[in-house]
């Protein structure tokens, strides 16, 4: 896999993001170069990482054409950006946050190809979701003497309205796969409390909301089944 990187203005703690990406790619022996804005000669199998805010409309059109030709184009932003991942012709156009991209790129193995990159991307998204759900469950069950905090916890425990804006970009199927199951029924068999949380957040039918999960039991299941090094 070869890679092109385009970033004129992005910095991370005084270091240009262009340098961070190039170094990480070179560390796993992925040939990379700064993108000059011209259409890539051979887009098939090419990884293109571009800082979204530095792109002109013409750049964007060129990169969409590269995706259609078989490239994996990643448009990243240092700010908060909704995650999207779209098949475009023979390739993909993905938009995500810099933090997500940095962890994926620095976690690649030597000689990674586009398929490995996409697997790492999905695995990273799944880990982020599992971690977020565990943290939120922990937050709503920690005992507190503060009435203000108790009121906030009650808001989170009684309704999905606080959760769903945070989890925007994730679907029920992605949540199911994040916990290693093929469908919700399988998840409910293997991790019943996690299944209850997923069903509560993304109910099968809006007409019949799922019962509220036991957040403490969810957390225990996540910690038992998903913690690897602790």
């Amino acid at each position: 896999m070869n890679a092109l990187v385009f970033d004129d203005t992005g910095h991370e703690q005084d270091e240009p993001r262009l340098d961070i990406l190039m170094r990480a790619l070179q560390a796993v022996r992925i040939e990379c170069a700064a993108w000059d804005g011209r259409p890539p000669a051979s887009p098939a199998g090419l990884l293109v990482l571009a800082h979204r805010t530095d792109l002109s409309p013409a750049h964007r059109t060129t990169l969409e054409a590269a995706a259609a030709g078989g490239a994996q184009v990643v448009l990243y932003s240092g700010g908060r950006v909704g995650y999207s991942d779209q098949a475009r012709g023979r390739g993909w156009l993905t938009e995500l946050e810099w933090q997500v991209l940095q962890r994926v790129v620095t976690g690649l193995s030597a000689g990674a190809d586009l398929a490995a990159f996409r697997r790492a991307l999905q695995a990273g998204r799944h880990r982020d979701l599992v971690a977020a759900l565990a943290i939120l469950c922990r937050c709503v069950i920690i005992q507190s003497d503060s009435q203000h905090i108790q009121d906030r916890q009650a808001l989170w425990k009684t309704s999905t309205t606080r959760w769903l804006p945070i989890l925007e970009g994730y679907t029920r199927d992605q949540a199911v796969r994040a916990f290693g199951a093929v469908d919700l029924a399988a998840l409910e068999r293997s991790l019943p409390n996690v299944g209850a949380l997923v069903s509560w957040l993304w109910p099968r039918s809006s007409a019949s909301p799922s019962p509220r999960p036991d957040f403490g039991a969810v957390l225990q299941e996540v910690l038992t089944h998903c913690a690897v090094r602790a």
Binding site: E12, Q13, E15, I20, R80, Y83, L96, E97, Q99, V100, Q102, R103, T106, G107, R127, D128, L129, V130, A131, A132, A134, I135, L136, R138, C139, I142, S144, S146, H148, I149, R152, W156, R162, P165, I166, L167, E168, G169, Y170, L219, Q220, V222, L223, C226, A227, V228, R229, A230
Partner: protein, 191 residues
């Protein structure tokens, strides 16, 4: 892996374990008389203060940043929790930080690392005093007897042990997965 985690891994693996500790081991072999390595020993002793000052400065910077890069503050800055409203982030961080400070092994590991650093400083001073040639300009007439100097060997051996302790502490600061960290806290709460 965050930039802090990457810096920690590179420092611990590349510079501490693969370079400095290997040099200390080479020094120990020379002091034991197992090798004749005079040029290396002279260079090592001459450069030791400067080399260690740079390493110690880097280690201290990493330890100073550990809380910020390992604790709840960083968990809540990661997607998708970076979308939390400020009011929710505030109470969540307050609760998680209380948990973290009370039950996380990280503060103890950081304290152990500082203790190892102090031990390294002490053993370096002891080694330089024992070896003596740089500080006092004393160069024994018989180099081999100097290399067999028991005090220098004891100091170098203790220095190696303290370096291993520091490396072990830094290795234990590799938990940058919040689920793993929560599991460690949970086990301490329930044990």
């Amino acid at each position: 892996m965050t930039s802090w985690a990457l810096a920690r891994a590179r420092f611990n693996h590349d510079r501490l374990k693969n370079q400095f500790v290997q040099s200390v081991l080479r020094m120990i072999r020379a002091l034991q008389g197992a090798t004749m390595d005079d040029e290396f020993v002279d260079d090592f002793m001459a450069q030791l203060p400067v080399v260690w000052a740079a390493l110690e400065s880097e280690a201290l910077a990493l330890l100073d940043g550990a809380d910020e890069h390992l604790g709840p503050a960083v968990w809540l800055r990661r997607p998708p929790l970076d979308r939390l409203e400020a009011a929710d982030r505030a109470w969540m961080q307050e609760l998680l930080s209380r948990d973290w400070n009370a039950h996380s092994p990280v503060p103890n590991v950081i304290a152990d690392a500082h203790s190892a650093l102090a031990g390294i400083r002490h053993q370096i001073a002891r080694l330089r005093e024992a070896y003596a040639f740089e500080a006092a300009g004393i160069r024994p007439a018989d180099r081999r007897s100097a290399l067999e100097n028991a005090d220098a060997l004891a100091a170098a051996t203790a220095l190696h042990e303290r370096c291993q302790r520091l490396a072990s502490c830094l290795g234990r600061l590799s938990i940058d997965d919040s689920v793993d960290a929560l599991a460690a806290i949970d086990r301490r709460v329930t044990s």
